[in-house]
Symmetry: C2
Subunit: 621 residues, 2 copies
């Protein structure tokens, strides 16, 4: 067990009336207090039970992160297991996983002594010691499997150099020091072994609902496949429910990961096929293979979804997800995303999802509803935009028509965009006033889509509005990005999981095509250029011919925030509820939700900018 | 001399290691420290010499504010003389002089004891004690003329409830308590005698230049006029220079205020008439009188300007303002704005401006240049806008053409808009990068226009750009506001005072009229409405017919930030420099100046939220 070096504490001075002395004494005492705290906690060994969440940080699994969230303390407790510690490691957070402007905890060794400190990297990636030490070292312990490091970080520190830990995706970054360094500043982070891992750090604090006694399990797993030796593979495997499988409720599910492949299995989804086809061919192979039967494209109804770092998913006590029975397809498609950047060869895998289901149906069927934008090219993002927002509406008229008087309860949400998506947020509005955030991810990544349980169940009543805004970055694109199904086209969707199930499957919008036509017209006339506005030319072609000057960009934004919308208030993707859904007015918002003001951590307050020296014994090489 | 009640100080505890105790001790000690500080400073009588700046706060002159600015401390020292103190007073600052969301220092008495505290008012005008006490009471002293109160306030406190003291106009507010109040919260600020006064609080710290020994003075004053018994009067008086008065340099000027009228004389300007007319009739009367000769409208060249709270104006040592000699009119127009809200009758006044001038010409003639927008209706502000920005440009091409290689030095500036103006800022840009703020007023008021000496002289070289942005509020208007000369039309001008004088008198811009025509066209087509775009209809008429929906507003903004400009790069208001000045590209800015981050006051740090009890002896009634 490594021991901690305590710095010698000054004798306690009796305070005089000079302010500077008081302040200096105050900080000295906090420093002493900090060291004592560290030493005190040093003795208590980190136990696995305290860290319910776990992800490997690197593809080899050398660094393993476990963590826990304390909402009363508004802080995260981290434990990193270093299976092969050399001369230290970097761990931290940044907006989208970059190593510039990042907030880092650094453990480093000069070959003799080891140090721990809270650091930050500037826009050029140079490291600096933070003036306020907010990664608080709680202990370090060596074990047969490696060295454990324990530390704590408040969600919000009020230090402008620190990352603000929020709900939704957090981009964790790590780096491994393979040579001794003489100081923090001497670390060249562009030259080290490093990477990023996305997680939902602030897991909701949910009470696990009581589970039925007659619960059965079913594992939908790939059949001992060889993981392809390429960075990215989407593997498709078709499974079947037994013949005449009656209606059941799925009440929970959890991942099944083949031991040793924890760092390779990135995410998994189980889809149910449409009941239109009597049979669907079997398939076991890459999803993008030419050999893949076309019918698999009709297997899009999500039954279960898991992504790295996620745990078991529980349905609320009153609801379950129906599967089986008449009108429900027997065919299930399992999709596994393998992320194999080190291009391991010949690894075998049998991962998948374990469904827990019961024949004792719960009170309500759970449903899934699509909010956001219709998949149509009329919603477009100009090229070269850093943060262009497209907004999809579920209007009061549609919820009035389609929801029961007692309302529905949204308990989970899966956000979805294609590659340009950077943020997604859905807000509930009532009587023109924003009331509640349904789900928000300010660091959304299209590479990390999971079904997230909400911290609080959101009740939605007839007449409420659900407004979903997606922010896109097209700085690396030279052509316009239009809405659509293609990977280079865009979507803005929030799949909300709710109960009781209603007929409303889709509550989405798009700009009125007539108004878009007027936009093409005015752009044409204003710019003296030839934008073909003849109706036989497609919308994507018209968008492609626009010269993207600031005026045409600005006016497109103005159009989207002014023009009436076409509503898709649908029972299924093709069947609308009766009513007039064209040229609908945009919901008007008279009062927006206030940005939450991050509050700074309570005592222990700011810590002086000193790195804490550690004795880690002999460091393994 | 009133004495101060000291609160009993606790015995000094020897610190233990518990953080809370340390923190509590820390605050206790600061409280003790504060009281001691107050008592210590109590003894030193406030002397007039420490407060070089002075304004009456109320029209009767019952409250007189003096102040000084300490740039090293980043703080303002205030002294208020209460000539007739009753049960206390409120003094503070707010965005535009309103009593809601204001930052206030309050002195109040319950009839027995008096208290002082830093307070704030909420959006409904209710008073609250501030959690951080940033108006620091330094002392109070009674004298035959009344009670003096001294206090100090840092420019920036980092308390969100506090006003940030910045350059430019500050709206001071005051209130007089005429009845005892039992607590701060009990003060009903809508029911008290109250008002506002505008001042430039942060006077620049300028070394007074050496003055010539042969300096003469000339007083341009109104001839013992009776101030009209109405709230607002602009009085015009024509003065004449002696026959054959040769060229002189004005090197300084200062106000001459008739004793007793300090609270009534709001601002004064001396204009020189155009040399086109051989003679101009004499006049002494209201400027808006029908009897006023038309020729007075040709007296617009500013020689001197003063507003309440301003002191003497000094030209830089190397420069003077030329007047007299050939090509210079003998006729001067003095304009005095009397603000007489209490409608005093029969007050006589002989106020004006004293010019200090010399026949020993200085090295350079000073010049005045107009920056900003051309007076044309093509620049318009829609109705109902809270903060609509119009921007005028002085382009690199014009400064290249018109300025000497050695550049010019701007040393003073007078900002000008009509009634809707709320902010004005001019920024110097070089090679597409903003370099320096020439002059900025974030609380600009059209009712408070003075020539302000700049803190730093700004050097402008050929190829530099000067960008002037004005922010307008038209929330109380139902019709569009177009650019023009009328009081309900708008201007955006910065008159910069500089040397050496050049031929460039006007460096202003307006949007290209052809692009504005395209805007009318597209609005017409987009909105299915009849906006008459026939050229025989005037621009104001076309603007008037626009339905002001969000789209038409947004697109007008987009137009102004995109369309090319027509430049007025003029020797005089009618004569342009040779060159192509139509359809010029907008200057492109690749790097903007960073907003200054307000830094919080150094020690003494935050003060606990306690009101300081005072003994003021027997309060006069």
């Amino acid at each position: 067990l490594p021991s901690m070096q305590t710095s010698s504490s000054k004798p306690c001075p009796c305070p005089s009336f000079k302010l500077r002395e008081v302040a200096s004494m105050y900080f000295t005492m906090i420093a002493v207090f900090l060291v004592i705290l560290v030493v005190a906690l040093q003795g208590s060994a980190p136990r696995g039970t305290y860290f319910p969440y776990k992800v490997p940080l690197d593809p080899q699994g050398l660094l393993e992160l476990s963590w826990n969230v304390s909402y009363p303390e508004q802080a995260v407790y981290f434990q990193i297991l270093n299976r092969d510690l050399k001369f230290g490691l970097l761990f931290g957070m940044s907006d989208r996983g970059e190593f510039e402007n990042a907030d880092l905890a650094v453990l480093w060794s000069d070959g003799h002594s080891s140090y721990f400190g809270d650091a930050w990297s500037d826009a050029k990636g140079h490291l600096h010691m933070d003036s306020q030490q907010d990664y608080q070292l709680l202990g370090a312990q060596s074990a047969p499997e490696g060295l454990y490091i324990l530390f704590r970080r408040a969600f919000s520190t009020c230090d402008p150099k620190d990352y603000l830990i929020e709900d939704g995706t957090v981009h964790l970054i790590y780096g491994i020091l393979e040579k001794p360094v003489h100081s923090l500043q001497a670390i060249n982070i562009s030259a080290i072994h490093r990477g990023l891992q996305r997680v939902q750090l602030l897991k909701p604090n949910i009470t696990i609902p009581e589970l039925p006694s007659n619960m059965k399990t079913m594992e939908i797993t790939v059949p001992n496949v060889v993981i392809p030796s390429q960075e990215t593979t989407y593997w498709c495997y078709m499974a079947e429910l037994p013949d005449s499988f009656p209606k059941h409720h799925i009440v929970m599910y959890e991942p099944v990961i083949t031991a040793g492949n924890e760092a390779l299995v990135h995410h998994m989804e189980v889809f149910q096929c449409t009941a239109e086809f009597d049979s669907i061919p079997r398939y076991n192979g890459p999803c993008d293979s030419k050999m893949k039967p076309d019918q698999l494209n009709y297997c899009r109804h999500v039954l279960a979804a898991w992504a790295m770092g996620a745990q078991a998913f529980y349905y609320p006590e009153e609801a379950g997800l129906a599967f089986g029975g008449p009108g429900s397809s027997r065919y299930l498609r399992l999709e596994v995303h393998y992320h194999n950047p080190l291009v391991f060869k010949g690894r075998r895998d049998s991962s998948g999802i374990r469904l827990y289901y019961t024949a004792s149906l719960r009170r309500y069927d759970a449903g899934i509803m699509e909010l956001g934008l219709v998949y149509t090219p009329v919603m477009a993002v100009p090229p070269g935009e850093a943060a262009f927002v497209l907004t999809g509406y579920c209007t009061d008229k549609c919820t009035q028509r389609a929801l029961p008087a007692a309302g529905i309860r949204i308990f989970a949400s899966q956000l979805h965009t294609h590659l340009a998506g950077r943020k997604v947020v859905t807000v509930l509005s009532r009587d023109g006033r924003e009331r509640q955030v349904v789900n928000a991810d300010g660091h959304y990544s299209p590479h990390f889509q999971e079904i997230r349980m909400l911290k609080e169940v959101v009740a939605v009543f007839p007449g409420d509005e659900l407004i979903t805004a997606c922010t896109y970055n097209t700085e690396d694109r030279s052509q316009v990005t239009v809405g659509g199904f293609g990977i280079m086209e865009e979507m803005c969707v929030n799949y909300v999981h709710y109960y009781p199930q209603t007929q409303l499957e889709l509550c989405k919008s798009a700009v009125d095509p007539g108004y878009l036509h007027r936009y093409f017209n005015l752009v044409n006339r204003f710019n003296d250029e030839e934008v073909c506005t003849c109706p036989q030319v497609s919308v994507p072609q018209q968008f492609s011919s626009i010269p993207w000057n600031t005026f045409n960009r600005d006016v497109l934004k103005s159009l989207y925030s002014f023009a009436p919308i076409s509503m898709h208030c649908n029972k299924s993707s093709a069947v609308r509820f009766p009513g007039e859904w064209e040229k609908q007015p945009l919901p008007s918002i008279t009062k927006t939700l206030r940005e939450p003001v991050p509050h700074c951590p309570p005592a222990p307050g700011p810590h002086p900018a000193v790195s804490v020296p550690l004795k880690l014994g002999k460091i393994k090489r």
